[in-house]
Structure formats: C-alpha cells, structure tokens
C-alpha cells in the first residue's frame, strides 16, 4: 500500500533543473533509500516533499492519515506538511542549540499538543494536563534513544553523534507516519553507525515508514528495502538493493565514480 507518491516532480533553480521529472512511490512500512552522487538533487527532492522548496511541476500525494483518499500536499508550507505526519531531519544538524536536549525533543510535540495561543498567557487545567502528557512523551523518547541522563544538557555542547540522535529523537517525538532522514550517518563513526542501524530498525518496528538519503553504501544496501537512484535530478534506476548493486547505469554514475575518488 502506497504511503507517499511523487508524480513527475520538477524543481528548477533559475537555469538549473535540480529535480527532473521524478517519480517514486514509498510503500507503507518500507525503509526506502534515495542514493546518487553529490549534487544529484536528493536533498532538493526532500525539500519538494516537505514544502521547503515547492516544485514547479508535478504533484506529491499523501496516503497517510485516517482518510483513505490520497491528499495532494504539493506546495503546502513546511509546518502543514509536518502536521500531516511527514517529519524530517537535516543533512547539516539543525537543532535549537542553546536549549537542552529535552526542550529540543519537546519541539517535536508541538503540533501534537492541544494548547492554543491563549495558553501562552495563562494555563488552564486542560492545558497543564496537555503539557504533562507531552513531557511524558519526551521522557519516553529520551529513554528510547538512551539519552535520559543528558536531558538537561544544552545540545550545542554535546558530541556530534549525540546531536544526530537528538535530531532523530525530535522528529520521532512527533509520532510521524513517515520519517525522512537526510544522511543520518554523516559524520558518525563505525559503532555509532551500527547503533543507528538498530535505531532505524526499531523505528520501523513502531510502524513508521522511513525515507532516507545516505552516502554510506554498505549502510544503504543492508538497511533499505527499496532504492531509487538519482543523477542530475533524474531517476536512473530503481529496485531492490541487490538489483541496484548490479545495475551498470548505477555503477557508472555512482559506484564507479566513488571508486575513482577512493577515500
């Protein structure tokens, strides 16, 4: 069953076509990977989905929520897309750096919270209950990521690996249906990457669908159920990891060039 469908998405920046007629369908419960060389348009595709850069052409269809009919979410502002249950992390960490881990995660509870603007002026018994409920969810999320001890630490002063965790925790606290991860393993060491794999699996076990961009090939091949390969904004291949690994187009465009660079 499809959860998210991109139909003929095209995004241009001036003369440059960053995403060119992209089609993909993410099924419910999948871990879906998007790969491609640097500058291929992967992050732009994410930005088209999440409303940061609305596409010029094509449509984004969302099958989530309680309704059975798909909703077109093309061009919705980011906060509305998030409220639909599509929440993302960023390639470069974007946390609220002066605030503590717990407060960062609490931001994920924002649109789940039932408080209105006037509760900013004065709480009511109802809003205090809502506040408590959301903090409980933060506590639960802290425990899931095993960072309860650090709850009151300002995130800006923490190790990179932990900041990555907090970013995922923030997204997860919002109880998304689709979690979009933009290079979740970037900058992580081997043991942190192993931990990430476990985390992603256990997020999927909660019934959350995952769409991710990743450069670490081993990680993508072990983790994902289905892969789309993009180059120059165009889809050049899609399929199961095994099939992608042996696709000559992919090897030429992506895997081959990585060997040449040889890190």
């Amino acid at each position: 069953m499809a959860l998210l469908e991109l139909k003929n998405i095209t995004k241009r920046f001036g003369g440059l076509t960053a995403v060119d007629n992209l089609n993909l369908t993410v099924e419910k419960g999948q871990i879906y990977g998007i790969i491609g060389p640097n500058g291929a348009g992967k992050t732009t595709a994410f930005n088209c989905i999440t409303g940061i850069h609305p596409p010029e052409e094509g449509e984004v269809l969302w099958y989530g929520g309680k309704e059975t009919k798909p909703k077109e979410i093309t061009g919705l502002p980011p906060h509305k897309v998030a409220a639909m249950g599509i929440v993302r992390t960023f390639q470069t960490i974007r946390l609220f750096s002066e605030m503590s881990i717990a407060e960062n995660i609490m931001s994920g509870r924002h649109f789940r919270g039932r408080q209105k603007w006037w509760h900013g002026i004065s709480h009511t018994p109802f809003s205090l209950k809502d506040e408590k409920k959301n903090w409980l969810k933060v506590k639960e999320t802290l425990e899931f990521f095993n960072i309860t001890e650090l709850a009151a630490e300002p995130v800006g002063s923490l190790a990179y690996g932990i900041q990555r965790k907090v970013e995922m925790a923030r997204a997860l606290a919002s109880e998304p249906e689709l979690l979009i991860l933009d290079e979740p393993a970037a900058g992580l060491n081997d043991s942190e990457t192993m931990e990430l794999v476990d985390t992603i699996y256990s997020i999927r076990d909660k019934g959350i669908t995952i769409l991710l961009i990743e450069h670490n090939m081993d990680l993508v091949m072990t983790l994902t159920d289905y892969i789309t390969v993009i180059n120059f904004g165009k889809q050049i291949a899609e399929g199961l990891p095994d099939k992608i690994q042996s696709d000559p187009m992919v090897i030429e465009a992506y895997l081959g060039s990585e060997d040449d660079d040889d890190e």
């Binding site: 999440t50 940061i52 502002p77 980011p78 906060h79 998030a82 409220a83 929440v87 993302r88 960023f90 974007r94 946390l95 609220f96 750096s97 002066e98 605030m99 503590s100 717990a102 407060e103 609490m106 931001s107 994920g108 924002h110 649109f111 919270g113 408080q115 603007w117 509760h119 900013g120 002026i121 004065s122 709480h123 809003s127 809502d130 506040e131 408590k132 959301n134 903090w135 933060v138 506590k139 802290l142 309860t148 001890e149 650090l150 709850a151 009151a152 630490e153 300002p154 923030r170 997204a171 919002s174």
Partner: protein, 321 residues
C-alpha cells in the same frame, strides 16, 4: 542551589517593591512608578525581541498607542480612565497584529528599519492632530484621575501600587510563556526558523502572536503612564524611546533580572543622576558598549533547561527564572 538562590532573590525583589512606599517620599514614589511602568514595557519588548528574536525598534509605538487610547477615550469620549484599560490593551494588540502581518517575514535589519518607519509615522500622526483627537505636538493633558468604588486613586502610592499589580501580571505571563507551547515556539523559531517549521510550528503565526502580546502589554503600561502624568505627549513615545527599550533587552539580557536591571540602568539611573546633566549619557554610552563587548548575550542571558525534574534524575540543571 542556583534555583534556590533565584527563588530567594525573586522573593526579596517582590518584598522590596511591595514595601518601597513605606520609605519613599512622593518624588521617589514617582521614580518607583516609572521603574514599574518601564519594566513592563521592557518585558513586553522581550517577548518580541528576546524570545521571538524579531528586531522591533518601534516598541514605543505600542506603548504610546495604549497611552493615547486611554487619553483620547477619557478626554474626548468621557470614559473613566480605568474603563479604558481593555481598549488600551486591545487597540495596540490589534495594531501589532495588523502591522506585523506584512513585515514579519523580513529578517533582522530589514524588520528593524520597517519598525523604525512605523514609529516615525505614528509620531507624525500624533503631532498633526489626527482627526482632531491627538492634540498635536502638545499632546493631551488634564486627564481625569482614576476612581475605583468612589475612591480617588490619585496619590503617588496608589499609582505606584497599580504599577505593582501590572508588573505582577506581566511576571505571571512571562512565567507562563516559559512553560507553555506558545512560549517555547518563540524560542524554537528564534534559534532556527526552518527547523521550527519543519517540526510543524507555524512560525509566522507565532511571530504575529508575539507582536500582539507584546503590543498589548505595552499598551497596558501606556495607560499607567497616562495616569501617572495625567497627560500624554508625542515625544514620550518617539524613536529614541524605542531605542532604549531595544537596548534594555540587549544589554540586560532576555531574562527577568536582565530586563529589570536594564530598565533600572536605562530609565532610573538617569533620573537619579539628574545633577550630572549630560555627563550621565556620556558614561552610559560607554557602559553600554562595554556591556556588549564583555557580555554579548546580555548581562543576564536567557537560561534554558526548564524541564520537569521527573524527566531525568539529574533533573533541572538550572531552573526557571
């Protein structure tokens, strides 16, 4: 420890402002009232500038709008001045919302220049006696003294205690903001607007909320200002005042002690050291520069980590202000 110190400090401060009239004569009471009124304005600017991170350099506009709303309703429409309070809150709040709408998406310096423009337009309207209501450059004077249940609240102590009540209401709102969804949303959008949007926060809506709330509180302080002087005039709300409100938040820091200290330094010390004439501004100018160089986040910066202590065993590292 720290949180305990803060609670003790706060209690002492409340006791001090409650007991102050016992030792102050009428001149010092007037200075005390000024402190209370401008603290409220400073705190209301903190909601917009300190929490929301929006460079509002026209805050005197909302302060003045509240004062003028009370004065006009009293003088031209004969409404008792205390009854004008709801209008003096709602009119600036609505203007804040309407004016903020089209400029709120501007960033930093652009927003700053726009708000300066709004303040200048406001002063021009007042000076040109708009609709024959604002009294031109001289303003409006001879306002009625407030009466409550037949008592005249005209003594300096009565005015002072009205200021205390309004300041306590403001404290309540500030504390409430710190522990509620809308208040946190302002911190989130200040620290990273895009991340805030991507996690489902309608940043534009909350920015407008901040402007409305800040403007409403400033308007409330404006009524007290009108009551204290039983007059209003344009120069009390000009661009220079806005600069001072802006500086309070920047120099003091976005926290209760920061704003209170900032207000004291910017508005009260110049009153106390009147004898030193223009020298005081010379010294204050340098003090401001020094403060910004040494403590760019303000003297008492905002503190975070305001989380329920049952979340983590280590609990609150640093409590609420």
């Amino acid at each position: 420890m720290k949180i305990l110190n803060k609670k003790i400090g706060f209690s002492i401060f409340i006791m001090a402002i409650l007991l102050y009239p016992a030792i102050a004569d009428s001149k010092w009471l007037a200075i005390g009232s000024t402190f209370l009124i401008f603290s409220v304005v400073g705190l209301s600017e903190d909601i917009i500038l300190g929490k929301g991170g929006m460079f509002n350099m026209g805050h005197a506009l909302f302060f003045g709008m509240g004062a003028y709303a009370a004065a006009i309703l009293n003088k031209s429409f004969g409404l008792p001045i205390l009854y004008s309070i709801p209008f003096a809150i709602l009119i600036p709040a609505l203007f804040g919302i309407v004016l903020a709408g089209p400029i709120i998406h501007l960033r930093g310096d652009y927003l700053l220049v726009s708000t300066i423009g709004l303040n200048i337009v406001f002063i021009q309207m007042l000076e040109n006696d708009l609709f024959g209501l604002t009294g031109g450059p001289n303003g409006i004077f001879g306002l009625d003294t407030p009466t409550l249940f037949g008592f005249e609240l005209s003594s300096p102590a009565a005015i002072y205690y009205m200021g205390v009540i309004v300041l306590l209401i403001t404290f309540y709102i500030m504390a409430n903001l710190d522990r509620s969804k809308p208040g946190r949303a302002l911190h989130y959008l200040r620290l990273d607007d895009l991340a805030a949007q991507s996690i489902g926060i309608n940043t534009r809506g909350y920015k407008i909320f901040a402007f409305g709330l800040g403007a409403g509180l400033a308007g409330l302080a404006g009524v007290l200002f009108a009551i204290q002087y039983s007059a209003v005039s344009p120069e009390a709300f000009n661009f220079m005042q806005s600069v001072l409100f802006f500086s309070i938040v920047l120099v003091g820091g976005s926290s209760l002690p920061g704003i209170l200290m900032g207000t004291f330094v910017m508005f009260i010390l110049p009153e106390i050291f009147r004898d030193f004439a223009t020298w005081r501004y010379f010294i204050f100018g340098f003090a401001m520069i020094l403060a910004m160089v040494l403590r760019p986040e303000g003297i008492f910066p905002a503190r975070f980590g305001k989380i329920p202590n049952w979340i983590s065993k280590k609990g609150i590292k640093d409590g609420a202000s």
